[in-house]
Structure formats: structure tokens, C-alpha cells
């Protein structure tokens, strides 16, 4: 009896995994199909990948998407880390909770609202839509997550370390560069990776603020998908799956590194 229930449980979990992964595997399998639709597999071919690499427009879009992701992640990480340091230094609880509430607004807002309100904002300020507006939007919606990743690390650090450094005559810059930043580095890295994946993944906000001349991969996939099935998109999804895997593995190792780094001083102390 017990054995039987045990099996049912596993069956349910396996079913969920199959449902979650089937569409993704389906996409990648058909990226190698010689046919033109996702209905019957017509034999193995690299043709769609070749077409993809020959499509210079798509490659340009891919590079733009990466550039936006990297730039926005760097900017968001810088501003977000400074913000987290600032929030940590607030003395009044009211200021602190207000700041955290404001920080969370973009985290909980639906993408459509962020996109629409940014579009109004850029138009009001006469900022032209394109690379600049997309970059600014991505920086803006990535900052809160960086703050939320960095803040716990700063709190973990406590004040005694800073006081000790200040007593030993460190100036502001030395405090920041020699004590604070090295300590909170794992949080900064996590924030950077999150910002990177947010930017790579975003569709709705970008769709609103992109204007006519500039697109990112998500927006391009949307407009191609609306025209129907094109196995070049499948090939693209194969590549993006690879990129996602690299990011997951990278993120995993950074977390591991962070953990090891945190353990070392403790061990020395003990």
C-alpha cells in the first residue's frame, strides 16, 4: 500500500516536469527538422541554424539585446548598490520603510503599466524612442531587484567592521572600496545577474518604449511569431536555451563562490 502511494507521487511530479519541459524540447527538436512547420519531423538538418547565422539583421538585434543587457545591468547594479548603502544608513524607520515601499513599486507593477507610463514619461521629456529609451527603462526596472539582493548582505555586515576601519583612519573612499564592496560582492554579483536576466527576458516594457527603428530579441520574436511558424525562430530558441543554461550555471557558481567566501572568515575566527 505504502509502496503504491509512493509511486503515484512520483508519477505526478514527473508529469509536471514533462509538461514544463515538453514545449521547450519540442522547440529545439524542430529547430533541426528539414521541414518548414512544427508538425512532422522531416529529418535532421542544420539549415535553420545556418540561416540564422546568415541573417545579419537578426545578429545585429542579438548584439543590441546583449549590449542593452550588459549596460543596463552595470548601471542598475551601480545605482542599486549605492541605494542599498543609502537605505542601510537611514536612521529613521519611517524613511527606511518609505524608501523600501517606493523601491518595491516597480517590482509589483504589471509590465504593461511600467511600459505605458515610461512611454508617457519619455514623450513628455522629449527623449527619442530607441536605444536610449530602452536602456533607461531596463536600468529603471532592474534597480529595485539589485537593492533587494544587496541590502541583506549589507545588513549581515553590521557596523562594527566599519567603525573599526574608520577608527583606524580609513577615509570614505577606503571604507567603500576596501571594506564594504569586498564584503557585499556576492550580493552585488547576484544583483548584476538578475538585472542581466531581467533585461534579456523583458518583452512588455521594451515593446512600449522601443519606437520604430530599434528592436530587441523578444520584440522581434513577437512580431515573427505573429506571422506564423518559421523554424528560424526554433533555431534561435535553441541558442537562447544555451545562453540561459550558461547563465544558470554561472549564477550557481557565483552563489557557491559567495558561500565559500562567507565561510572562510568564520572558520578562521573559530
Amino acid at each position: 500500500m505504502k509502496h503504491l502511494t509512493f509511486k503515484w507521487r512520483h508519477l505526478y511530479l514527473w508529469l509536471i516536469f514533462i509538461v514544463l519541459y515538453a514545449p521547450i524540447i519540442f522547440l529545439v527538436v524542430y529547430s533541426f527538422s528539414a521541414g518548414t512547420t512544427m508538425t512532422n519531423f522531416h529529418g535532421f538538418t542544420w539549415a535553420h541554424y545556418q540561416a540564422l547565422f546568415a541573417d545579419s539583421r537578426l545578429i545585429a538585434i542579438f548584439l543590441d539585446t546583449l549590449l542593452i543587457a550588459l549596460l543596463s545591468a552595470i548601471l542598475a547594479t551601480t545605482i542599486g548598490t549605492l541605494g542599498a548603502l543609502g537605505i542601510n544608513n537611514t536612521t529613521r524607520p519611517v524613511t527606511r520603510s518609505t524608501l523600501l515601499a517606493l523601491n518595491n513599486i516597480l517590482m509589483v507593477s504589471p509590465d504593461v503599466i511600467i511600459g505605458a507610463s515610461f512611454l508617457i514619461f519619455f514623450t513628455a521629456l522629449k527623449i527619442p524612442l530607441g536605444f536610449g529609451s530602452v536602456l533607461l527603462s531596463h536600468v529603471a526596472f532592474s534597480i529595485p531587484i539589485v537593492v533587494l539582493m544587496v541590502l541583506p548582505k549589507i545588513q549581515e555586515m553590521g557596523t562594527s567592521l566599519l567603525d573599526a576601519a574608520a577608527d583606524l583612519g580609513a577615509n570614505n573612499w577606503q571604507l567603500l572600496s576596501q571594506v564594504i564592496v569586498p564584503y557585499i560582492m556576492p550580493g552585488i554579483f547576484s544583483g548584476f545577474f538578475m538585472a542581466l536576466t531581467y533585461s534579456l527576458d523583458d518583452f512588455a516594457v521594451t515593446f512600449f518604449v522601443t519606437g520604430n527603428g530599434f528592436t530587441t530579441l523578444s520584440v522581434e520574436i513577437y512580431s515573427r511569431a505573429r506571422q506564423g511558424i518559421n523554424l528560424e525562430i526554433n533555431a534561435l530558441s535553441g541558442l537562447m536555451l544555451l545562453l540561459a543554461l550558461v547563465l544558470v550555471i554561472g549564477y550557481y557558481f557565483i552563489n557557491q563562490y559567495g558561500r565559500r567566501h562567507r565561510r572562510l572568515p568564520r572558520r578562521r575566527r573559530g
Partner: protein, 277 residues
């Protein structure tokens, strides 16, 4: 000296961050509300709100949108709760959890595109239906497919908070309830479920609001049959260029969001984005 040093440090830290809050958090929301009082010719008016509240189409669309978001959320909870529960009991729970979360790293549009292939006339779903003798059906561009794909996309965002709540649950409570003679069902309904309700609420927060605004799915999968608040906003901003009315619907969406947050316990840790990616 030290205090003064701290203070100067603070201002230096705060300048870019405060600028960001003013420019990209407060200003856009205020501008959206402001814009909702202007008509398509740029004149100040209350007509947008009047249009919205007197038009059957818009009210019906809102009800529909909320109804579909409710169905999506319900389906997601029904699938995710057992998943999280069973995950919590497996040996390598963390690894399995990572595998559940992995699909959220794949671009949303690609997953939607996959379902265009799966649900199409001769797609694999219809081949399966023919195989078991039901025969092919129109799957793509139906309300069913919209709910199915939306639930598919949201499952990881629901599993994670429920799993967190379950893993924080102290086993001693369950043992106590068993010792006191409760049946399995009683233990679940009186002890486990109430104690993990915060996780379910966090999941509902993370799923319900985005479901009101999934405009790309209504277009790619729903065939424009379901019009959500998100679809209407996108339509008014990018197609009909009636930003005033679009903003009005945006304000309605913000109000809907605040109501959901309030019903599900306000400022609970928000799990959707931070932990899932």
C-alpha cells in the same frame, strides 16, 4: 567627526538612487494618472472615466479580464500546491525546485511560440487527440488555450512561494496533530493548509496581477478572443493612440492591483521576480 563622515557618505550614496525614485518611480505613475484626464486632442476632460464607467464593452471587458485571471490563478494553485507538497517530501528537493524554476529562464515569447506549434491544426496535441479517437479540434485561438498557456507560464511562480511556506513548516505541528488523533485529511485542512496560506497568498499575488496584463498571450494564443486590461492598454497606447483612455484603463489596473495586494496581505515578500530568476 564620524557622524559627519557618515552623513556625507549618505548623501553621496543617495543622489543617483533618489533621482531614480523621483524620475522612474514617482514621475511615471503621476504622469499616467495625469494623462488619464486628457482626451485624444489633448484637452482636459473627465470623459475617459465617463466612457469607461458607462460603456458596457469596457465594464464587460474588465469583468472578463478579472474572471480569466481568476481561472488562471485557480488552475495554477490546483496544479502547484500538490507539486510543492510532493517536492517538499523528495530527497533532493532543492535540485527539483531548480528544475521547476529553470523554464522561467527561457524567454516568455519563445514558450508562447512553442504552443503555436503544439496547438496548431496539425500540431502534436491534435495528433494525440486523433490517436486516442477524439479527432482533431480547434485548439489554438480558443479561451482554453489561453488559460492553459498562461497557467503553464505561471506554475513556477506559484510553486516557489508555496514550497517556501511548506519547507518552513515545523514538522512538530504535524506530529502533534497526528498524536491528537487527526486523520490525514484533518491534518492537512486544519494544520498544514492554514499554516502555508501565506505562501499561497504570495503565489496568488505573483500570478493574478500579471494575468490581468498578458497582452502578448491574448494575441498569440487567445486569437484576440479574450481582451484583458493589458490588451486594452496596449491597443490604446500603440494602435489607436488614445493615450488618455489607455491611461484610464491603466489606473483601473493599478486599482485592481492594490485591491489584490490588500486582499492577499499587503507587503508580503514578493516572490515573483526576485527569487525566481
Amino acid at each position: 567627526m564620524q557622524r559627519k563622515q557618515r552623513l556625507s557618505r549618505n548623501t553621496a550614496y543617495f543622489v543617483p538612487y533618489t533621482l531614480w525614485i523621483l524620475l522612474f518611480v514617482l514621475a511615471p505613475v503621476i504622469l499616467l494618472i495625469y494623462q488619464s484626464f486628457f482626451n485624444i486632442d489633448g484637452q482636459f476632460t473627465l470623459a475617459n472615466y465617463q466612457t469607461y464607467f458607462t460603456s458596457k464593452t469596457y465594464l464587460l471587458m474588465t469583468v472578463n479580464s478579472v474572471w480569466y485571471a481568476f481561472l488562471i490563478t485557480l488552475a495554477t494553485v490546483l496544479i502547484s500546491y500538490p507539486t510543492a507538497y510532493l517536492l517538499n517530501e523528495t530527497k533532493h528537493a532543492q535540485l527539483w525546485l531548480l528544475l521547476i524554476i529553470m523554464p522561467t529562464w527561457i524567454n516568455l515569447l519563445l514558450k508562447a511560440y512553442a504552443f503555436i506549434g503544439i496547438f496548431s491544426q496539425n500540431g502534436i496535441a491534435n495528433q494525440f487527440l486523433s490517436f486516442i479517437g477524439i479527432g482533431p479540434k480547434q485548439l489554438l485561438f480558443t479561451n482554453f488555450s489561453f488559460i492553459f498557456v498562461a497557467a503553464y507560464i505561471q506554475i513556477p511562480f506559484m510553486v516557489l512561494p508555496i514550497y517556501n511556506a511548506l519547507s518552513e513548516l515545523k514538522p512538530s505541528y504535524i506530529n502533534a496533530s497526528r498524536d491528537l488523533g487527526a486523520t490525514n485529511w484533518q491534518t492537512f485542512s486544519r494544520v498544514i493548509f492554514p499554516l502555508t496560506l501565506p505562501g499561497v497568498k504570495a503565489g496568488i499575488q505573483a500570478v493574478f496581477i500579471p494575468s490581468l496584463s498578458l497582452f502578448m498571450l491574448t494575441r498569440l494564443i487567445g486569437g484576440n478572443k479574450v481582451i484583458t486590461l493589458g490588451t486594452a492598454i496596449e491597443e490604446h497606447f500603440l494602435t489607436t493612440m488614445n493615450w488618455g483612455l489607455g491611461s484610464t484603463i491603466g489606473v483601473i489596473l493599478i486599482i485592481a492591483m492594490v485591491i489584490v495586494m490588500w486582499l492577499t496581505g499587503g507587503d508580503k515578500r514578493h516572490h515573483r521576480k526576485g527569487l525566481t530568476k
